[in-house]
Structure formats: C-alpha cells, structure tokens
Point group: C2
C-alpha cells in the first residue's frame, strides 16, 4: 500500500459510527484524509477481561477507544501485577514506531474500539504535521499522567490512593465537570483497583468503607459512586 493509493480514495466519507469520538486522531485531518481513514477502520467490541493485544504484538494496529475503559498492565516474573495506565474514550491506543516494552492491554469494561492498520496510520502521520504534533502531545500527556501516578504510588497512604483513583475516574467519565455532586460507574473491580493502586483487594475495600464512613462518597451495588463534594475528596487525596 502506497501513499498514492491511499490518496486515491474518491469520496471523503467520515467514519460514521464513531467519528464523534475520534478527537484523538481525526481532528487534525483534511476531509480527504478522513476519507482514507474511514475506508480502513474496523470496529470491534470486547468483553471485560478480554486481551486486546495492541502492544508487544508484531502484527499490530492502532485504535481509538470509542467506549469503555482499557487497562494497561505490566507483570513481574513471579506474577505480581501493576496497572500502569487506563485509557478512556476517546484516547488513541498503540504506539507509532514503538520500541517494544512488555505492556499488555485488556478490556476493563465493555469496550468498543475503532481500529486502524498500522501502515495506514503511519502513512497519514507522515503527511500531516498536525497529526505528528498530536501524537507527541498525547505521549507527553501520558508521561505526565504516569509521573503523577508515581507520586500516588510512592508517597500516598492507602486512603489517599483510593481517593485519587475515584477522582481520576470521575474526571474522565463524568465529563470533567467540576460541579458537585458527581455520580459515575466504576469501570474497575476491586482487584483491578488494587493492581492500579499498589495495594491488596482487602485494603482497597477497607479504605472505600472508610471514605464512605467519612461521608466523602456514597456507593451502591459496589460500583455506582456518588461524590457529594469533589473538593473535599480532592483534599483527602493528598
């Protein structure tokens, strides 16, 4: 597949079913480029726990998360696991020119992806300075998030860690609105929360109970969280 072939697509036709969620990769493209993109995307749905095989896979593609949450994790040889990132819609997953590092991607909830073959996206990137810039910005933002989380893992108490995670989920799923009260669904079970926070399941559960007793959150069905005062929770998060 050559650049010429890609540009020969006749009708600029936007990837209809998910274009609204395509900010990560579409916002900087021309109509023609969007047309190219639309003809090569493939939409897939995944169940919770399903491996997505985006990273450290030779035959790799890139994907926009159009719905749901994807967890990125690394494991030690003896089985200890640490989540190193969460991807919410509309994040772009996968890495151009990627140096392989043994990260695995897995659906945390029901997940919809809009996949793009590696070659197509790389060709589009080669022709778009805007897209290059966006890619750099995305990786820098992920770097900032990773470093922020290093502070959480290295210096916060268990209760502060849990509060930090609740804030993170709230900011990414509840539209980033600053207004309290906020209400949202946890995309992660207690086990995944523990793996993200560097704690055990039991400790996570205890600290959630503690935050509940402190009146900082109310919880129904183990998953549905309501935060009456976002600022108070933020204070509790250290």
């Amino acid at each position: 597949m050559t650049i010429k072939a890609l540009n020969d697509v006749e009708i600029p036709q936007v990837c209809r079913s998910c274009s609204a969620r395509h900010d990560g990769m579409c916002a900087s493209l021309t109509p023609a480029e969007l047309g190219v993109l639309a003809t090569h995307t493939r939409h897939t749905h995944h169940r919770p726990g399903e491996a997505l095989a985006i990273e450290s896979d030779e035959i790799t593609s890139y994907a926009n998360v159009t719905d749901g949450v994807v967890k990125l994790s690394r494991v030690l040889r003896d089985g200890r696991q640490q989540l190193v990132g969460l991807q919410f819609a509309p994040d772009l997953m996968g890495r151009l020119f990627g140096t392989e590092s043994p990260i695995t991607a897995e659906a945390a909830s029901e997940v919809d992806l809009c996949r793009v073959p590696k070659l197509v996206l790389e060709t589009l990137v080669a022709g778009s300075n805007e897209l290059k810039r966006r890619l750099l910005d995305q990786s820098l933002q992920e770097l900032d998030e990773a470093r922020e989380w290093m502070v959480t893992l290295g210096r916060k108490t268990a209760a502060e860690r849990v509060a930090s995670l609740l804030l993170l989920v709230a900011s990414r799923t509840a539209g980033g609105s600053e207004a309290s009260p906020v209400s949202f669904e946890l995309p992660l079970g207690r086990g995944d929360m523990a793996d993200f926070l560097g704690l055990t399941i039991e400790t996570v559960s205890r600290q959630i109970s503690k935050l509940r007793n402190e009146g900082l959150v109310t919880i129904e069905n183990h998953r549905h969280v309501t935060v009456p005062d976002l600022a108070a929770l933020r204070r509790r998060a250290g």
Copy 2:
C-alpha cells in the same frame, strides 16, 4: 528571530565542547543546522542541589545533559516529595510545546548542561522530520521508564526497590555493559534515593546493609558501589 535568520549562519561550526555528548539532539541535523545550533548554545555548570528551572518556567530553554545527573521531582502540598525521573548524559531535557505540569528539575550531582533557547530548537524541529521523530522517541522512552518505575513503586519490596535503583544507575553510568563485576559512583544521596523509591532514608540504609550482607554488593564511602554479579542483583530486583 526568524527561520531565515537562523539559516543565514555562514559557517557550519559544530558545538565543539560537547558535540560528542549531543546524540539526543544533533545526530539528525544537517551541517548547516548544526552550525545554527552551535552559535546559539550556552554551556552552564551546576552544583548539587541547584534548581535548574527547566520545566514550569515561562522563559524556558532546552538542554542536553552533557555530564552528571539531573533529578525530576514532584511534591505534594504537605511537602511529601517523589522523584519521577533521572536524566543522565546525554539526555535531552525540557519539553517542546509543553503542557505545564509542576515538575521541578534539580542537579543531583555536579552537572554540565548545553542549553538551547526554546525558539531556536523549535525552529529547527519545524524543519526536520528526523528531529521530530527523535523527540517522539525520547518521550516514548521516558514513558516506558516511568511505567517501569510504577511497577517498582507499586509492587516491589524495599530491598527489591533498592536493587532496582542500583541496576538503573549501573546501566546508565557504567556504559550499559552487561559484564560483571561492575563498579560505579552513586549520584544520589540516601535522601534522594528514598524519594525516588518511595521509602524513608532509614529504610534505604537498612536495605543497602542487607544487600551488602547478602553479598550482592560491596560499598565504600557510602557512594562507591561494586556489583560482583549483575544477574544475581537483577534476580534480587524482582
């Protein structure tokens, strides 16, 4: 300063005193571009503990670390501190188009920098696809390193963390040679090690003593480390 003005520099003259350490930013430039770079660089030396004010500073520049080690850190409001990265020569510090995040940079040891004004480097970047690519690669590598360290902070024991740090320093200062025994100087004091590892000074000291008793390292003057068996230390690091 315009692109034209930059390109009008007459003699391609390499940044003499540190070009050998310039891999990070020079390797992909044309002779003319190197000339531009050379006429605008400024070399500075810094004492341990000196703030470098690279990030989160409005009047910012970029810099190659030509010698020594720089520590990047974040602090919580109540003063708790976490190192989120170490920059060894010849890393490039600073961030193009940076979204500000409150990271501070400080010399960990005696440090030599080769600074480049923000505008100059951004202009060079605009004209060089190779340089854009290198910048992306660098940020992706830092992302990998940050995530690797998240595993260390979230899932490793105190002794494993210390072993991990010794391996990190060994790999970056001892030329990346895989051959044992390896010998190197620690660029960090116990306090900085603790801040990087998410531990206290006392715990770091105790764990170092433990590794010494286990025969995995020998230490002189609190700073000079010898690792008789790199593979054994790697095993101990989890």
